[in-house]
């Protein structure tokens, strides 16, 4: 039975992971999925509406799932459809996260009116022990709307304060205000504020357009005219100006005769051209038609319009449409989420192999790591293709790549040593880095455009990739050391041979880390010399990288000089985790320097907790050998 175990385990995991590529039974109707695939220009790049919906939800509420007041679950696309076309409904969805108590009291909330009352006793118990949340932390737009002016006033006070010196309340109010603005920009993207039958309005506008334009021209020329028609047309025009000014979603493709082929417009902007061109923009009409059908809940005609519009785009923007289709599939498959679960399983199997079924569990773990790594490779490759960039372009992708690099090294270790240590480390690092990546994705679109300073594929491909590989290997050495301590102190499984093998692995990985972190740092210096005229500028991120190089060099010299042995090596390698995590995130928290692109305040406590944990592990490692369960005579 245990002989077939690895095969079964890997097969089950693969089936689960690949299931995301195909439509699920009970999932959203195909018309909604097709709507999610429509390309728009947002934040400087072409992307599917599905990505707009997902990144917006991640930013404003920290998750992609939306629950309606009557407890139905919506996909991001369905939510976006309601925001765009059915705002009265979307305004009732609780999608704004508010955690800060001062901010909660500003919008009239307190512990009492936030408590969630559960019907069933089992749910009440679960809420009491913290499995279900006991109080509401997400608000609907309708709940917040009465306090908009207070929020705006507080934001005006807090906004001028530098991000790193804001109080928690200030940070929270600035964030909520930004989220509300983000939401409103979407709500006004395709339909003007308060309009319930935009399609009808546009059709009436088209009908009376020539008369109206004639009336306005006559009015401007001071000739006799139909005052009512002129006034109506001018009112329409003002509505379109308001629309154009209040959104940044460029959903309307350029006309065939447009001077700039890449110049997408907002719906309001395209509508303003109606008066000059003598006809209403076809894409705006198509979206208004979708809105009408969606509001009337006529899914068949909704799907028909989406299809027609989609096909017309495909003819003109073949390449972009292909990319957005792949991006939608990529979004829905969530490869990194599957990967995270597989790594977790791999770690559990590796740990199991030290307790029971050494061979079967070890091979299952290895199989899972290989599967997860293949998935991660496919995911990273897809992102690179979508972006047309080397793998690491921001903090999010650095987390993906650190995980990918460490797991790759672990696969090599496991292939040469066959003792499940590589798989265990791979599971731990893979899981942890993807978890970090998941939280970094909450900052917004992870395929964001590169600022001009960083816009150099050559240096992104060399300096960034190499230095991140250096981070990855330093972390790996640290994780191996953690495994050494945990196994040695708390289990009886670390025999002399395994301990020596682990020690050699750590030493080898530290050598590798020294080489890569040095070369990566030096390449960074050369990039800086090429673009700013100084090889070294003592920028915090540069210093962080330098400290990693120095730390690795210190370990090697201490080892060569005989100042440390196996346990000393283990302790120093664990401290390497602190050094690396500080360089990776801590330097960004200072909020200064050229590399402070990923300011992350919430991450501070996580970082502090991680450091404390590492220090605790070092303390444990310094217990006398008599206390180590593995080494007790």
């Amino acid at each position: 039975m245990t002989r077939r175990m690895p095969l079964f385990v890997v097969l089950i995991a693969a089936v689960c992971a690949l299931a995301g590529l195909f439509p699920q039974p009970g999932g959203p109707p195909p018309a909604v999925t097709a709507f999610g695939r429509l390309p728009v220009l947002s934040e400087g790049r072409m992307k599917p509406l599905d990505s707009v919906a997902r990144s917006t939800l991640l930013v404003i509420q920290g998750r992609q799932r939306v629950m309606t007041p009557d407890d139905r679950e919506l996909t991001p696309d369905e939510w976006l459809l309601d925001v765009l076309f059915f705002p009265e409904r979307a305004d009732t969805y609780r999608v704004f996260v508010v955690d800060n108590t001062d901010l909660l009291s500003l919008i009239g909330k307190n512990d009492e009116n936030l408590r969630i009352r559960y019907e069933k006793t089992s749910e009440q118990v679960a809420a009491m022990i913290g499995i279900l949340s006991s109080s509401q932390r997400r608000m609907s737009f309708n709940e917040i709307a009465p306090y908009l002016s207070q929020i705006e006033a507080q934001e005006k006070l807090a906004e001028p304060v530098l991000p790193q010196s804001r109080t928690r309340f200030q940070a929270a109010v600035v964030q909520l205000y930004g989220n509300l603005a983000h939401y409103l920009r979407l709500r006004r993207a395709l339909v003007p504020e308060g309009s319930k039958d935009f399609l009808g309005e546009l059709l009436r506008l088209r009908e009376g357009l020539s008369d109206g334009v004639a009336a306005v021209r006559a009015k401007e020329a001071g000739k006799p005219h139909d005052e009512a028609k002129a006034a109506a047309l001018i009112a329409e025009g003002q509505k379109f100006v308001a629309m154009a000014e209040s959104t940044d979603l460029l959903a309307i493709p350029p006309d065939d005769d447009d001077a700039e082929p890449g110049a997408w417009h907002s719906a309001g902007h395209a509508l303003l051209e109606t008066f000059g061109k003598g006809d209403v923009n076809a894409a705006v009409l198509a979206y208004a038609g979708m809105g009408y059908a969606w509001r009337q809940n006529e899914l068949a005609s909704f799907g028909h319009i989406v299809r027609l519009y989609g096909t017309s785009l495909e003819r003109r923007f073949d390449r972009q449409v292909r990319k957005t289709r792949i991006e939608t599939i990529f979004n829905q498959a969530e490869p990194f989420y599957a990967c995270m679960m597989i790594y977790l399983a791999a770690f559990l199997f590796a740990a199991l192999s030290w307790l029971k079924w050494p061979e079967a569990a070890r091979r299952s773990a290895l199989g899972l790591v290989a599967l997860g790594w293949a998935l991660a490779t496919a995911g990273i490759a897809t992102r690179m293709w979508l972006e047309g960039r080397p793998p690491v372009t921001n903090l999010y992708s650095s987390a993906l790549f650190i995980g990918w690099g460490s797991v790759g090294l672990c696969l090599i270790l496991e292939a040469t040593h066959r003792n499940a240590i590589g798989s265990a480390a791979a599971g731990m690092i893979g899981f942890a880095t993807l978890l970090i990546a998941h939280h970094l994705a909450l900052a917004g679109d992870t395929l964001e455009m590169m600022r001009a300073v960083l816009d150099s594929n050559f240096w992104l491909a060399t300096h960034v990739v190499v230095v991140v590989t250096g981070y990855a290997s330093t972390f790996l050495a640290g994780m191996l050391a953690v495994i050494y301590v945990l196994r040695g102190v708390f289990t009886r499984t670390l025999d002399r041979a395994s301990a020596d093998a682990l020690g050699r692995m750590i030493y080898g990985i530290v050598c590798f880390a020294t080489l890569f972190s040095f070369v990566g740092t030096a390449l960074g210096g050369i990039w800086a010399d090429q673009s700013w005229g100084r090889f070294w500028g003592w920028d915090p991120k540069e210093n962080g990288a330098l400290i990693i190089v120095l730390w690795n060099a210190l370990i090697l010299h201490a080892r060569w000089g005989g100042l440390i042995r196996q346990r000393g090596l283990v302790c120093l390698a664990i401290f390497g985790n602190i050094v690396t995590s500080w360089s990776w995130f801590g330097t960004n928290m200072l909020g200064i320097g050229l590399h402070s692109y990923g300011f992350t305040q919430a991450a501070f406590w996580w970082l502090a907790g991680f450091i404390v944990l590492q220090l605790a592990l070092i303390a444990v490692a310094n217990l006398p050998l008599g206390k180590w369960r593995s080494f007790r005579a």
Binding site: L41, V453, D455, C511, D539, P540, I547, A553, L590
Partner: protein
């Protein structure tokens, strides 16, 4: 007795223990300096921590050395490295990687020392169509006294800020008067007298000086701020004083006065570095990503006008693509509006050193670890 003592000293200097201690000290130094950047800015940190032998910390009025600085740690590392290699020299390929890497490291440390001492940074601000034959320092100022009698040509005497700060009297053959510094503040704000009723009476007797008040400010080290020094200078001719002027980087335009039948201008301005050629900004362009305010690229098309008066050559300077010309390097550093480019101008004769030394270290490390790896693989097979 003495030989015994020397032997002990030697064994300290060649020991790996010293190496480890020095690396640990430098890690703490770099870490501390990084944290201190929040207060001091990059430039201040470099002066305090890296371009110094000892790190001083203020304790009230007292400044006491609390930690070894970059020069001391770097110097000791160098001594440690060189003496260890001299003492333990053994020919053979087994340590060849370490040799190459350490040779590279020595070069890198020396190169950083050199660029710290020799590198000079300037800025050049050019509007479209403008031609300039000088760059301005971002940090240092000078007192320029200009003979502007000839409308086509300015004859300039520039006095470095440090002479004003030191109170040195300057007598120059081009000037018919002596320049006598009467007071200096390294950073200041200029206010109209009406806005500063409590200000002490001004020592200035001529030009703008009597109308304004100088408010001294703390010296700033921040990246995006600049010190605006002010000074009072008395100009003394052979027949007695001409008056005392207030000169300040905060004043802007030069102040004019006639003397000896010629017209003169006096101004405190960013230190200029003139070059024997000029640059003309032909076109500046910058793009943002549609629908955002994220800069996509910016570039400056400039013409280099050589001193021989030839037609000049056109080059495009853009991000990650500087112009290297006549020992100077021009980078696209920023812009101001749609028509003004800011170029960073750097003179660093030792710019090539890090390239060579880093290549050597990388090669050495790679070689050494490959030797280890091969040995390790053989050991496993055996």
């Amino acid at each position: 007795m003495i030989t015994e003592y020397l032997r002990q000293v030697r064994s300290v200097f060649v020991s790996l223990r010293l190496t480890v201690v020095l690396i640990a000290l430098s890690i703490v130094l770099v870490f501390w300096a990084t944290l201190d950047q929040v207060h001091l800015g990059v430039w201040g940190v470099q002066q305090k921590f890296f371009h110094s032998f000892l790190v001083y910390q203020g304790l009230g009025e007292l400044r006491i050395p609390v930690y070894p600085g970059g020069y001391l740690i770097g110097g000791l590392l160098l001594v440690n490295l060189l003496s260890a290699h001299l003492y333990r020299f053994k020919a053979g390929w087994r340590k060849s990687g370490i040799w190459i890497a350490h040779a590279g490291l020595v070069l890198l440390l020396l190169g950083e020392l050199a660029s710290g001492l020799l590198q000079r940074d300037y800025q050049m601000r050019l509007d479209e169509g403008e031609t300039k034959n000088y760059a301005e320092s971002t940090r240092r100022n000078e007192l320029a006294i200009i003979d502007a009698t000839d409308p086509d040509f300015d004859d300039v005497v520039a006095i470095p800020e440090s002479l004003l700060a030191g109170g040195t009297v300057v007598q120059n053959p081009k000037l018919p008067f002596k320049v006598v510094p009467k007071g200096y503040v390294p950073n200041s704000e200029i206010r109209m007298r009406a806005e500063a009723p409590n200000a002490p009476p001004s020592p200035a007797t001529a030009g703008m000086g009597p109308m304004v008040a100088v408010v001294p400010l703390e010296v700033t080290y921040k990246e995006d701020e600049r010190n605006l020094p002010s000074a009072f200078v008395e100009l003394v001719g052979p027949d007695g004083t001409l008056g005392t002027w207030l000169v300040s980087a905060g004043l802007g335009n030069p102040q004019s006065f006639p003397y000896g039948g010629r017209s003169w201008k006096i101004v405190m301005r960013p230190e200029r570095r003139y070059q024997p050629f000029s640059l003309t900004l032909e076109k500046f362009s910058h793009d943002i990503y549609p629908g955002t305010d994220i800069p996509k690229n910016f570039s400056s098309k400039v013409r280099i006008n050589a001193p021989d008066g030839g037609p000049g050559r056109e080059v495009l300077i853009y991000m990650n693509n500087p112009l290297r010309y006549a020992g100077l390097t021009y980078y696209q550093a920023g812009f101001d509006g749609d028509r003004t480019a800011i170029l960073q101008v750097v003179r660093n004769p030792s710019w090539l050193v890090p390239y060579i030394s880093c290549a050597a270290i990388a090669l050495g490390l790679a070689v050494q670890f490959l030797i280890h790896l091969v040995g390790f693989a053989r050991g496993r097979r055996a």
